[in-house]
């Protein structure tokens, strides 16, 4: 049962990653792309981490997966903030239409 739930969670996570990547490729400017990438990937990562944690054998492994999720989430949020900040400061325009 746990394996089925884990598979569903990880599949859903992968769908979010694919959606984020499509957004990265299709959206018009850097701000929209960051918006698509960080939001979708953040949720995708959480779902995949949850799925992996269900299959993890020990409490230690679950704890490590939780730590990995936390630090990847914080790092990716910080990175996109830095990218957006740099784009704004160097005068990258928001694309309309």
């Amino acid at each position: 049962m746990a394996e089925v739930i884990a598979a569903v969670l990880m599949t859903a996570g992968t769908v979010f990653f694919i959606a984020g990547t499509v957004g990265l490729l299709r959206f018009p400017d850097i701000y929209c792309r960051l918006h698509a990438l960080t939001k979708a990937d953040g949720l995708g990562l959480a779902l995949i981490a949850l799925g992996t944690a269900l299959l993890a054998g020990s409490a230690g492994a679950v704890f490590r997966i939780a730590l990995i999720w936390f630090f990847v989430a914080v790092a990716s949020a910080t990175c996109s903030h830095l990218v957006a900040r740099h784009a704004r400061q160097t005068g990258t325009e928001v694309q309309h239409g």
């Binding site: 730590l67 630090f71 914080v74 790092a75 910080t78 903030h81 830095l82 900040r85």
Partner: protein, 325 residues
């Protein structure tokens, strides 16, 4: 129906080759570096698939993380201080002359020779033989540690590992010697979110780096991986300006650079005698000695990589020039 993992492996291998080709063929240097970093991450994944987590950790930490940071720092330096992309000419710094064609050709020749040597070594190796697995497994009880990779690196072929540490030492000596005339690139101001992230990440990096070092005795990890992760701490400290290198710190830095090589060589020589040769640790002290060496080597690797990222010997900068004392 093919094995799904086989399909994954083939896709992974194709992506790695494609990324390598792309990173060599794009013209924009920033794109080139980003592609190289992705190439490193996928290579680390390939090492995982080859059941070599130690190499994967080293590739991810050193080959991708630290090397990527070094490349980006170099690009920043090229754009803002020296070279043809001089946007903000610094006082007293002439743009560097272009690299002579002879130097480029010599570099190409040496790289070609190394590639040929690697190819000869690879093709000359016995194909699909048993390797050294059996020999290592038999000798493990005499190594003093439980993890075969650490046993090989720090005991059975410790001489090679010592040389790897010496290479790193030579690199930082060379950088401190030649990069004297250049001014510092203006440090980018990264903002409060970044500062908060650094405050959160710093203690975690210390724990992870030490864990990698300590766990290396019985699980994948070790001095190089731990050292690279701890070097990331140095990078964070330098980037947040929490630590600004001062000329007075050069002495401590020099000691930290040679600590690993020095302790490694001393231990190797001191265990010799009484029927033993150099690097032949007495069994009852083997684990202690290996941990001592690994600990000191980790410190050296971390400080050296961070110093390479900083890029030049800290000198007292006076207005419009430099002041070497």
């Amino acid at each position: 129906m093919a094995d799904p993992l086989m399909i994954f492996d083939i896709l992974l291998a194709l992506s790695i080759v494609a990324l390598a080709t792309a990173s060599l063929s794009v013209r924009d240097q920033f794109t080139m570096i980003v592609l190289f970093i992705i190439f490193g991450l996928l290579s680390a994944l390939a090492w995982v698939r080859l059941s070599a987590p130690d190499v994967a950790l080293a590739e991810a930490a050193i080959g991708t993380g630290v090397t990527g940071a070094l490349l980006l720092k170099t690009l920043h330096h090229l754009r803002f201080v020296s070279g043809s992309r001089n946007r903000q000419p610094m006082t007293g710094v002439a743009p560097l002359p272009p690299v002579p064609l002879g130097v480029t050709l010599a570099n190409a020749a040496f790289c070609g020779l190394i590639t040929l040597g690697l190819a000869a070594g690879f093709l000359g190796a016995p194909a699909a033989g048993p390797g050294f697995d059996m020999l290592v497994a038999e000798a493990m009880p005499t190594s003093g540690v439980a993890h075969p990779v650490t046993g090989v690196l720090l005991n059975f072929r410790a001489y090679d590992t010592l040389m790897e540490v010496v290479v790193l030492l030579a690199a930082v000596v060379a950088v401190w010697q030649i990069e004297r005339g250049l001014s510092e690139a203006p440090a980018p101001v990264m903002g409060v979110v970044w500062q908060g992230f650094a405050r959160l990440a710093l203690p975690a990096i210390v724990v992870v780096g030490t864990y990698l070092l300590w766990g290396g005795a019985e699980a994948p990890g070790g001095a190089f991986q731990g050292g690279a992760v701890l070097a990331a701490m140095g990078l964070l400290l330098l980037l947040t300006r929490a630590y600004v290198p001062q000329p007075g710190h050069r002495g401590i830095a020099r000691w930290a650079f040679v600590l690993g090589t020095g302790v490694f060589a001393l231990v190797a020589l001191l265990v010799a005698g009484g029927g033993r040769v150099a690097f032949e640790y007495p069994l009852e002290h083997a684990k202690t000695l290996i941990l001592l060496i690994e600990g000191m080597v980790t410190i050296s690797i971390a400080v050296t990589l961070a110093a390479l990222f900083h890029g030049r010997e800290p000198v007292a900068l006076t207005t419009g020039g430099r002041h070497d004392t």
